[in-house]
Amino acid sequence: MATYDLTQRIAPNLDRHLVFPLLEFLQERQMYPDEQILKSKIELLNKTNMVDYAMDIHKSLYHTEDVPQDMVERRVEVVARLKALEERAAPIVSFLQNPNSFQDLRANDQHYNLQMLHDRYQIEALYQYAKFQFECGNYSGAADYLYQYRALCTNSERRLSALWGKMAAEILMQNWDIALEELNQLKEKVDDPKSFTSPLNQMQSRIWLMHWSLFIFFNHDNGRTLIIDLFNQDKYLNAIQTNAPHLLRYLATAFIVNKRRRPQFKDFIKVIQQEQNSYKDPITEFLACVYVNYDFDGAQKKMKECEEVILNDPFLGKRVEDSNFATVPLRDEFLENARLFIFETYCRIHQRIDMAVLAEKLNLNYEEAQRWIVNLIRNSKLDAKIDAKSGTVIMEPTHPNVYEQLIDHTKGLSGRTYKLVGQLLEHAQTQAAR
């Protein structure tokens, strides 16, 4: 069950705080013993400032009421530090909150404004404060401060990290729309060749970006299209292939769920083939079965495994509570489309198919299969007929008409000739004019 769990591979590319949702999910799915997860949670929290939370977990882990001394000490320390930072950041915060303070700014002298802000209010403190807030788990506060900081700050490096921080905060607050905006901004920065000294750094940033974006894409309504847009870009695909092949799972899923991506899909199949020896899981194997080996029985088996994988993946297996009935929307969609994939390919190479076999291949019963096919035929997605007597589907041959071919071939010729003549005349005119 845990064999296809990617948490271990994903976690290093995420912020500490972003790993929490993953752990929560794992806990919910009971994939690992509770104790293990709680322990890793504490470990995770040790480096953050969410000491209270860590204490709670500690209590539930060891079923005691007392907490270790170092945690208590740390709590005191954190609180003190928070105070200190708050004090330092107080002037700028109040400045920003006070609408009258804009009078201090000179309208046309940006340089002066910055200098003044820097001297009098210490923008830097704002950043530190925001960071500390984030560390403490106060994401909304951190997001606000970071937003303001970004507007004021001039240091590009700091701006970049503020951007990352803002995005993480938005993700954690589940403001997907805003997070998506941040993501796009960040992407621009990351793709800017000027912001990185070495290609390696840039690639690493891309990988981070992709990992973080998983949260957004699988929660945003439009995410499944966007994920293909982002991941399938050459630069990002390169990064995936080189350092994070496990991301192929998400791209593959997105491709399967998205029907309108055919041209890119073919290329993607090639990528999957190439990376077969560096990464595979049921989802990529499913694609390989259908599109490379034409092994439909294998594909069917993989489809079942895929279901497992989807349910156990923190991103893919998102649940939607519907009154008292929870569903995983992505699973249904995935299965439907995967079925379609199999069927499509299957039909391409068959002339006559037994309905019973087809039903079995599609993981449906006979009646359902029939209904499904009738629907396809009615939507004119399939050029076939059902022979009810023998219980078979008969495909209509799809050979292009010879005459049509001939016409196709010659169609372009006249256009070309016209163009040629046009150019010739034009040329002659210019010559004559000279």
Partner: protein
């Protein structure tokens, strides 16, 4: 010649020098033995030899030297008169050279007064000239320059003779009365001397042997035996000089050392003798730094033993050289304050600083260069020794010895923080290891452990038996035994990552190639391929030096073999086809020289080529390589030919294979296969008929397969591939004869599983290679009759011709108006596909397949982003994958416009669709 040794036989020098001479003789060098022989001959020689005329020439040598010197002094005087510093400088150099000769002739400790006189004169004149600023200003620039350099030279030179000069200045007359006389007198004196000489000569001519003999035979420009003799005698002098250990001081060792070093490379200097002298000096060295300095010279002298580029260093000298290097390292480890550097010129007396000196002592030297040279010599010796002899095997056993040295040097350099140099040494180690499969590596490891113990013992004995014990004895600090990790891969990883981190461009490229080779050797095809693609070596291999290109070819060949072993036929073929396209495999891999009928090579070329040859044990078996290449070609080409029987435009996958096939088809009678080609051709004939069993049997009978480690599995794979291709070929060839074909029948026919057959046939259907579809309830393939009628076929031909016409019109227009039809280029592909008629959809599909292929081969081309290896600088191995990036994907989009064929090797990634 014999007569010249006459005196030697009689002189007492023989006994004393014999120790050394014997040593030399033991080296087995001809010249020495010759002289030895002649000496005996002389010893017994009768008096009649005495009257030999040659002696007259010989005997006058001493005086001749003096005479020459005097003449030079005159020249100097003349130059002084006209204030010509340029010629003065020349004369000064000349006189110094002559001094050396004179000293050798007279064998005196004391420098001749004539010389001192000249020095004094020169110094005075120089001071005068320097003082006269105005005159100096007026001088021409070259003259002034010469003056300045003269000043420095003289200063340096005079230091040596300070005492003498002072003494001379105090009391010139006591030395030589005539000195202060005018020039004319001087000349007279010279004449006198000359005059006096004559009787001497006459006397000699008359045959009376006198005590002058020893000097007499020192004619400088004599032949080989002359210098052997002379230096032998010098040994004696050294020995005399250092007979009493207590008398040895740093100064006289240094002086002697300078003298010996100065003689290096001169016409009359014996190479072996120099080695011997230096060995002796090394033992009597007073300070570690001095010892080190002498050792460096000794090692250089050892390299000098063999002149010319073609021959190799004698093996025993090589071994001694390695030992010396180890001693150097011992010293360096024991005295960490000694720094070896070849950038700065150290002080004269730097080496005087004793072992307990606190600061850093700089010694001139370049460890890396030495190590590299030793490696080169090792390589050369392997090149020239006949690989089928025992000698070759013996020589190969010395490899661990070098590996130890390299390891130690590398460690030392790493400690010293000179990582760049260390990476160079690491490369040498890599180059000794990369071609070794695990078995060979293990064998070497075992050998190293065994032999070294024996060697140590020998060495100790040798050490003891040698002459006087050294003053500076250094314990063996650096390990004399190489340490090898269990696994050759670990070792490679370790070394290669160091190189990637610190090496320069070429070092890195070579290390990368070795790395690729080694990965391929271990059947890790995907890793090797990724390394190759990401390093973008294919793009800039043309700019590399020949040796690196050879290494690249070797890596490619190994990669091809590896691909074949893992069952990737298409990849294997694309790796190897380039090597075989020119018919010059041997040259490309530097494994022998093939005769070309058409153009003769110049001797120079041949020599160069011979120098690059790989030693035998590094060879990649050419028969195996050819077999693999042809089999890959066969597996790809046979179904391809069957699919396109009647299209003249069918694309050719392997030209080499096609040509061979044509040749074999032209034969009237085909006999049983003899060589690799015959076998593959026979298999091809069987395969075209779909007879997989026979095809496999023929190929299986090749005896090159015994060279494969996992022979069974490879043959198993090969059988499966042959079956698959036979099935494809069969279907292509006989489609027209069937209306339907059951799966069962096919399965039985080709001994494949049902799933496999289904998968293969389905693939063909999807790719529209086969116009058929499955009838699922009956498990049959139904073939669609899509043959065009005659009229239709003709119509297609017509459209094709039309489009060609249109295109040629466009082209004509283009050439007249000068371009402007950008569109046509892009459109041509489509139109062409449309225009090719006859096979309509089929061809079109082929084309798209083509594009895909090209696109993927563009993968190797790496689009616009050619990240050089250099940019990978500082990446550790794990991260290296990131450096290049798969820029090929970018190229895929442009694939149809890119021509992958001009690349060295176009490597397709991914399985054939």
């Amino acid at each position: 010649m014999a007569s010249r040794f006459w005196t030697q036989g009689g002189s007492d020098s023989e006994e004393e020098s014999s120790d050394y001479e014997d040593d030399v003789e033991n080296e087995g060098v001809e010249t020495t033995t010759q002289t030895a022989g002649s000496r005996y001959l002389q010893a017994n020689a009768s008096d009649s030899d005495d009257s030999d005329g040659q002696k007259r020439v010989v005997r006058s040598a001493k005086d001749k030297r003096f005479e020459e010197m005097a003449a030079t002094v005159d020249q100097m005087k003349n130059a002084m008169k006209i204030n010509d510093w340029v010629s003065l400088q020349e004369s000064f150099d000349k006189i110094n050279k002559q001094l050396d000769k004179v000293m050798r002739v007279t064998e005196a400790e004391k420098v001749p007064t004539l010389y001192i006189k000249a020095l004094v004169m020169l110094e005075d004149f120089l001071n005068q000239a320097m003082a006269n600023k105005e005159a100096k200003k007026k001088m021409s620039s070259s003259n002034a320059k010469a003056l300045n350099s003269m000043k420095q030279k003289l200063k340096k030179n005079n230091k040596q003779y300070e005492d003498l000069i002072n003494k001379y200045r105090e009391n010139p007359e006591s030395e030589e009365v005539k000195d202060e006389d005018e020039e004319s007198e001087e000349e007279e004196e010279d004449e006198d001397e000359e005059f006096e000489e004559d009787p001497d000569n006459i006397r000699a001519g008359s045959g009376s042997d006198n005590d002058d003999d020893d000097d007499g035979e020192e004619a400088e420009d004599t032949n080989d035996s002359g210098w052997v003799r002379q230096t032998g005698r010098r040994d004696k002098s050294i020995d005399k000089q250092f007979k009493n250990p207590s008398e040895i001081t740093w100064e006289n060792v240094n002086k002697k050392f300078k003298e010996v070093v100065a003689a290096r490379g001169r016409k009359g200097t014996g190479r072996f003798e120099q080695v011997e002298q230096l060995t002796f000096l090394m033992k009597v060295a007073k300070t570690p730094a001095q010892k080190l300095e002498i050792l460096f010279s000794l090692i250089s002298a050892q390299f000098d033993v063999n002149p010319g580029l073609s021959g190799h260093m004698p093996i025993n000298v090589w071994k001694k050289c390695v030992v010396n290097m180890l001693i150097v390292l011992d010293i360096l480890t024991q005295y960490p304050n000694i720094v070896v550097n070849d950038m700065v010129e150290p002080d004269e007396n730097e080496t005087q600083k004793a072992a307990d000196y606190n600061g850093t002592i700089r010694v001139w030297g370049n460890l890396v260069a030495f190590v590299e040279r030793i490696d080169v010599e090792f390589f050369k010796s392997l090149q020239s020794i006949d690989p089928h002899t025992r000698e070759y095997v013996e020589r190969l056993r010395d490899e661990p010895m070098f590996l130890v040295l390299a390891q130690d040097v590398q460690e030392y350099l790493e400690q010293a923080g000179e990582f760049k140099a260390a990476s160079k040494v690491a490369l040498r180690r890599v180059e000794l290891i990369y071609y070794k499969p695990q078995e060979v590596y293990d064998a070497m490891r075992k050998l190293a452990e065994q032999t070294d113990e024996g060697d140590d013992g020998e060495k100790a004995i040798e050490e003891e038996s040698r002459g006087p014990s050294a003053f500076i004895s250094v314990p063996e600090l650096v390990p004399r035994k190489p340490t090898f990790p269990e696994n050759s891969r670990t070792m490679m990883d370790m070394l290669v990552s160091l190189i990637y981190k610190y090496g320069d461009e070429r070092t890195k490229a070579r290390a990368m190639l070795c790395d690729i080779y080694h990965h391929a050797l271990l059947d890790e095809f995907s890793t090797a391929r990724d390394l190759l693609l990401m390093s973008h070596l294919q793009d800039n291999v043309q700019q590399m030096d020949v040796l690196s290109q050879i290494l690249f070819n070797r890596a490619m060949a190994q990669l091809g073999l590896c691909a074949f072993r893992v069952g990737l036929v298409a990849e294997g073929h694309s790796c190897l086809s380039e090597l075989y396209s020119g018919g010059k495999v041997k040259e490309l891999l530097a494994q022998g020289i093939s005769q070309s009928r058409y153009h003769e090579k110049t001797p120079e070329q041949e020599r160069l080529e011979r120098r690059r040859q790989m030693p035998y044990h590094m060879h990649i078996n050419l028969e195996l390589l050819e077999a693999v290449h042809l089999i890959c070609a066969m597996l790809l080409e046979v179904p391809n030919m069957a699919a396109n029987t009647h299209g003249a435009k069918s694309k050719v996958i392997s030209k080499t294979f096609r040509r061979l096939l044509e040749v074999s088809e032209r034969q009237t009678f085909t006999g049983p296969p003899e060589n690799v080609r015959d076998h593959v051709m026979a298999a091809t004939r069987a395969l075209t008929k779909g007879d997989f069993q026979k095809a496999f049997d023929v190929i299986n009978s090749l005896d090159v397969w015994r060279l494969l480690r996992n022979r069974e599995s490879v043959l198993e794979m090969l059988k499966a591939k042959i079956k698959e291709e036979a099935l494809r070929t069969y279907l292509f060839t006989f489609t027209s004869s069937y209306d339907s074909l059951s799966l069962d029948q096919l399965t039985k026919m080709f001994d494949l599983s049902e799933v496999q057959t289904h998968s293969i046939v389905s693939k063909m259907m999807i790719n529209e290679e086969l116009h058929a579809s499955w009838d699922q309830p009956t498990h049959c393939i139904i073939f669609h009759d899509v043959e065009h009628s005659r009229l239709q076929a003709l119509a297609f031909q017509l459209t094709e011709k039309l489009s060609i016409l249109a295109e040629s019109n466009e082209r004509a227009m283009e050439s007249r108006t000068g371009g402007g039809l950008d569109l046509s280029l892009r459109r041509r592909d489509q139109d062409y596909a449309a225009g090719t008629g006859a096979m309509g959809g089929k061809w079109q599909d082929n084309l798209s397949y083509n594009q895909g292929r090209q696109g993927r081969s563009g993968f190797t081309g790496g689009g616009g982003r050619s990240l050089a290896l250099g940019q990978a600088g500082g990446y550790s191995r794990g991260q290296l994958r990131g450096s290049g990036g798969y820029s090929g994907r970018a190229a895929a989009a442009r694939g149809s416009q890119m021509d992958g064929s001009n690349r060295m090797v176009s490597l397709n990634k991914g399985v054939r669709v």
